[in-house]
Amino acid sequence: MSAGGSGGGAPEAIPQNKLIAFGVIAGLVGVYLSHYLVAYVSTAFSFIGGLAAICAIVWGAAAVRRVASYGLGTGVPSIGMLALGMGVVASMFGLAVGGIAGPIIALLSAAIIGLVIGVLANRVIGMGLPIMEQSMTEIASAGCLTILGLSASMTGTFLFDAVLNNVVATGYIAVIFIAGGLAILHPFNANLGPDEKQDRTLMTAVEKGAIAMIIAGIVSITTDGAASAPTILIGLFIWYMAFEQYRKYVDRDAYDVVGVGLLPTEEEGSE
């Protein structure tokens, strides 16, 4: 990206460590909670999987923002494709072998694959980005949790048989892959520029995460274990709130927001 990298890390109002803790804990707890609440209380609670995915997406978007502001030499999207590629492999593996410990195994294997790629990128390929190892680990883990959360919200569980029959064999995994991936990638890409602000970028992540949640809700129409209406309605509500808040941030940050107008007049002797 030509106007992207400033080469020095982006200023952060919320420290990354808090976002990591938030993403991991809220993501994992949400996935488990949706499984148990659906199993023992009501299928209506499948929406919690979508909330877990939103938390993971916010974390992933923050990690993308952090590493992409160094300038990767190629477009921002590549790193997210990498992350989702690793995430989908790791999450299917974790769920397939892990049973009830599936999400934890998935998260760990995503983190390991991410770490290995980060180390190799710096040591073998020689990218020399100081935070590459950490960022790749984070993005792969966030991608994995996003996939888990959205799958749980579609099926009401993370047990592999249900996910396999309802999400993978039907091809809905593709929409998880891309809707989750774009929700992680788009925020930084959409707010690219020297006056980018962390809160605005992360609010975009919430908004795009809500869209992924709505889609998951639509898919859950086809599954018995998950209720669709709560997921879709709560997703729409979150989307609306996040979009309104995003607009406020845009109004706050923009040079000017005009209904219609000419180009800004020349000032200060600029040519």
Binding site: M1, T74, S78, V89, I113
Partner: protein
């Protein structure tokens, strides 16, 4: 608990084939002439898009044709060849239409800035490069290189997919197909991104000095795909 060692020993051939496929994909990306954003403004030789995107577009087209072929035949060479042909058609159609746009829409002749003479046609290149640019369009050497890259990527993608659907497993055909295809897409993306970091996002083809960097990406891809293949084989074979 599943017998991890047993599954791996049973399917050791497929672990090797998946790894080889990933390495082929990674190597293939180095052949594809992409100029990134500058090429979209006719400021650099190559196709005016990102490495990952183009490699993915070509490779996945190959995956679609190979997927159709796997349905009707068991012959591995035929499946690999159909994957290669699918990807080669996609990439050469893209390049020929790119040449139309550069030649008729923008009005610049194809020219490479990295070499003075095209290694295939022996045509002089440097004087055909317009002022202030790094070349533009697709000279023959880049076009041929792109076709080779597409073919290798298609073979790699088809090999990964073929191996995944042939793992011994208790899954039903539909489930296996779905799982194998998304695994193949995931492995494809990982191996398309790694080389694009290696070449810094742009390359003209096999005549570009950057091409010599390929061992780095191939080593990285070898390790990463090996991990992915073990994970994939255990996941599919354990069911």
């Amino acid at each position: 608990m599943i017998d991890i060692a047993g599954i791996l020993i049973d399917n050791i051939l497929f672990v090797a084939l998946i790894t080889l496929g990933g390495v082929l994909i990674s190597w293939s990306v180095h052949f594809v002439p992409v100029g990134g954003a500058p090429a979209a403004m006719a400021q650099a030789t190559g196709i005016g898009t990102g490495t990952v995107q183009l490699a993915a577009g070509a490779g996945l087209t190959g995956l679609v044709t190979a997927g159709a072929m796997i349905n009707v035949t068991d012959s591995l060479p035929l499946i690999l060849a159909s994957g290669a042909v699918g990807a080669m058609i996609m990439i050469s159609v893209t390049m020929i239409v790119g040449t139309w746009v550069y030649t008729y829409g923008v009005g610049v002749p194809p020219a490479s800035a990295k070499v003075d003479y095209d290694p295939i046609t022996k045509d002089r290149q440097d004087i055909y490069v317009s002022q202030g640019t790094e070349g533009h369009g697709l000279p023959t050497v880049s076009f041929v290189s792109g076709v080779i890259g597409g073919g290798l990527g298609g073979i790699g993608g088809a090999m990964v997919y073929y191996s995944l659907v042939n793992i011994t497993t208790g899954l039903s055909a539909t489930n296996l197909m779905g799982l194998a295809s998304i695994f193949a897409v995931g492995i494809f993306f990982v191996n398309a991104v790694i080389p694009s970091y290696n070449i810094g996002g742009t390359i003209e083809g096999f005549h570009d000095p950057k091409f010599k960097r390929w061992p780095k990406a191939v080593i990285t891809s070898f390790i990463v795909t090996f991990m992915c293949s073990i994970v994939g084989v255990i996941a599919i074979g354990g069911l």
